[in-house]
Amino acid sequence: MEEYRNIWVIAIYEDAEPDISTLKLVGYARLLGDNVGSWVEAVLIGKNLDENHGKELIMYGADNAYVISSENIDIYNVEQIAKIIEKLANEKKPEFILFPDNKFTRAIAGYISGKFKSALLTECIKLDIDPYERKLRAHKPAFEGQLLAVVEATGGFPQVATIKIATYSLPMKDEFRSGRVYPVEINLDELGVKTKVIEKGKAEKVEPHNWKAKVVIAVGEKIGSKENYEKIKQAANRLEIFVGGTKKAVDEKIVPEEDLIGPLGKIIRPDLLVTIGTSELPDYLFGVEKKSHLLTIVEDSTEPLAKMARYYAVSKPEDILDLLIKEMEEVDK
């Protein structure tokens, strides 16, 4: 497909700050671009965006940036965002369109790839482009993340992918990197958007339930104090995350007895189990067929828990606790 060129990274701005996942993806796209000899172009969509926002993404690795900014852009209107990207892609004909992966971008990616009748690879945890055949190749989770599927695009351009970027590191910001920023005017009324957003808000708070919670945080004795436990519990509960403690943490009176996780206490069945301040897996898989994914924060990367985890981070609990709580509060702001 000769006429299709360049790699796009879609950057959707909720406020004037770029997401860390967007910056990481720009850096990742840079590596892909260098491998296949393509330019990386960032497409910025949001309110109150200007040349400087475009320049920032260039500093992280993009060659060009298109900035689409309007007071009437509404990130709650998925159809509108999707149609903006579709319109620009129709004009500029990118070869690949990449999104940082989340529920929202997956919905948009589905729509755009449908419009172009092209390949769509979602939730990629590793992505390559075949430089000769110009095809995306990816590893993605399958069967509730129990296995990996290795897939390859076979048809259509632009090929669309969403990438789970959390495990990739932030690229270095090169203040001297140059590139061009193109402001793009799009007449939103001509897109034929049928969706009307009537109301926006936050979900009602529901007290997290040990059995129903999708995410559970299990706290171990190394968290240090009762106060620390209460702090993380409060921050997490706002996001419907259930928080409990391991046997040892309960024995050391850091976690109250009623929050014990395991067959003698609260039975859990999360999609994701997060552990912090412990080197053992809490004894919770009692008569539960479902296998949770594990994210663990360990002090040493050779710990067995890190070996079996889907994701792990290496840090002393006291070094990361406050930052973690701050970030969890940000989600809900």
Partner: protein
């Protein structure tokens, strides 16, 4: 009003094993059934049926056995089933099933509303609904917590947890239903067995829709399956300065909420 619910026949993901050397699936002893998240879409359709007297049709795309999924849906109270089938349709990705369903809607039967689950437990993409909407050129809503019909339109509460929004879209439309919609009802065993007796499932072969088996690998080719622990270059560590690590941890958590 006529509502279609797209259901997928999927294996129990926790029972699936692979042949490590060849990367193929071993699914002989695995239980199959309706994709768990599709039950929420069925529940949403049946609640709308109770309110508006709509006809609810369950539609599945798949091989010979996939009509089991329709019997289960019939057991929950769906009026009838449509099975878009071909023997070669095994595990198909959402782009393919969306295209087959869109051809059915274009050529055979129109619906006012098409409901889907959020994602399937096999190849998990969460993109079926919007891909279908694009092919049909219908408006869409994603992750519905609540759906209300209001003369020719629907009002949907969209769940992008912890944020929500209320949108109004004209019919016909495609809506994916969140697993926060409400507990799905249990299928009625008696109704399932009745569903086998009555001819409530219509089979539509691919040829009738003007499609052939080439569609299966039209967009994606599945090369092999692998175990996480065996794959090199699959990153698991969240690294960087502490504040970045904290951000990455919360990014991962958000994905599961």
């Amino acid at each position: 009003m006529k509502i279609a619910v797209a259901v997928k026949y999927t294996p129990n993901p926790y029972q699936v094993k692979i042949h490590v050397r060849t990367g193929t699936l071993l699914i002989e002893d695995v239980e199959f059934g309706v994709n768990p998240k599709d039950f929420y879409a069925l529940e949403a359709a049946l609640r709308l049926k109770e309110k508006t007297n709509a006809e609810v049709v369950a539609v599945t795309v798949g091989g010979e056995e996939a009509d089991e999924a329709l019997r289960e849906a019939l057991g929950m109270g769906v009026d009838r089933g449509v099975h878009l089938f071909d023997k070669a349709l095994g595990f198909i990705e959402s782009a393919v099933s969306a295209e087959i369903l869109s051809e059915y809607v274009k050529k055979v039967e129109k619906f006012d509303l098409i409901l889907t689950g959020m994602e399937s437990s096999d190849l998990k993409g969460g993109v079926f609904s919007t891909r279908l909407a694009a092919l049909l050129d219908y408006p869409f809503a994603v992750g519905a917590r609540d759906i209300e019909v209001e003369d020719g339109s629907i009002i949907v509460v969209q769940d992008f947890f912890p944020k929500i929004s209320k949108v109004k879209i004209p019919l016909p439309a495609v809506v994916s239903v969140s697993d926060r919609f409400g507990e799905p009802r249990y299928p009625n065993m008696w109704a399932i067995s009745e569903a086998y007796k009555d001819d409530k499932v219509k089979k539509v072969p691919l040829e009738d829709l003007g499609l052939d088996r080439g569609i299966i690998e039209k967009y994606l080719k599945l090369r092999r399956y692998a175990l996480y622990s065996d794959e090199e270059g699959v990153r698991r560590r969240l690294s960087g300065p502490k504040d970045e690590v904290a951000k990455s941890i919360v990014e991962v958590i958000k994905d599961y909420l």
